[in-house]
Amino acid sequence: MKENAIEIDIRVPNQTRYLSLIGRIGEDIAKELGKYQGDRETLAYHINLVLTEAMVNAIKHANAGDPDKTVHVIINICNDQLVIKVFDEGQGFDINAVPQPSFEQLEDRGRGIFIIKSLMDSVAYTKIDGGNVLQMTKKLD
């Protein structure tokens, strides 16, 4: 691993009770970024939020709420870039086919992917052996 790089690898059961734990870890990482010039509190909130949204996507949709499955998260910071990967064990979906939420019609659901795409610089959802990975990248300079 490169000098000054941080990588955190976490596996938790496929349960929403672990959302706050992972979100907190994301916030703590944001507060450790040495050179970041922007608003650190907002960055911390945004990392917490995208981690939460991505985990909920994995837990409820990809892993279909099965408590015996696992959600695997890797958070990597290197070269002024934050990369978050959230792995699931499900069938997957086409992230580009998820419509933008209708701001006219009031729906209870469908804002998670929109929030992730709004707050991160790039987002990709890719099929891998045994499941899928949602990769979210944000430049920190």
Binding site: V56, L106, D108, R111, G112, S118
Partner: protein, 111 residues
């Protein structure tokens, strides 16, 4: 989920006593609001003073409550949002949907 319910004249106030309103706990708030409107309550105020973090599921629960209010000829308003929570309403344009007040007292005056 820790909710404190108070009734002032004909307004029910739900104080959300949680730091996070997310996919883990927002279903309980949704059920509570649904139950109130089904019982015949017309005016519900949700106080979010202690909520520091909200995700799309938390927003969705409040949207559900708002739609429940309309279908029962009632109203649902929000008060005391922390700045990051308010920014999520702005990002998702929901600040145009909800009546949001700075203080509980101000919200109570506007029912």
């Amino acid at each position: 989920m820790n909710l404190k319910i108070e009734e002032k004249s004909d307004i029910v106030i739900i104080f959300v006593k949680e730091e996070r309103l997310d996919a883990h706990n927002s279903g309980e708030l949704k059920s509570e609001m649904q139950g109130l409107f089904e019982q015949g309550k017309k005016n519900v105020l949700v106080d979010l003073k202690e909520v520091r973090f909200i995700d799309s599921s938390g927003l969705g629960a409040l949207v559900s409550g708002f739609k429940n209010a309309i279908s029962h000829q009632g109203s649902l308003k929000l008060a005391t949002l922390q700045s990051q929570v308010k920014s999520m309403f702005e990002l998702t344009r929901l600040h145009r949907v909800f009546e949001i007040y700075e203080t509980t007292a101000e919200a109570l005056e506007n029912f």
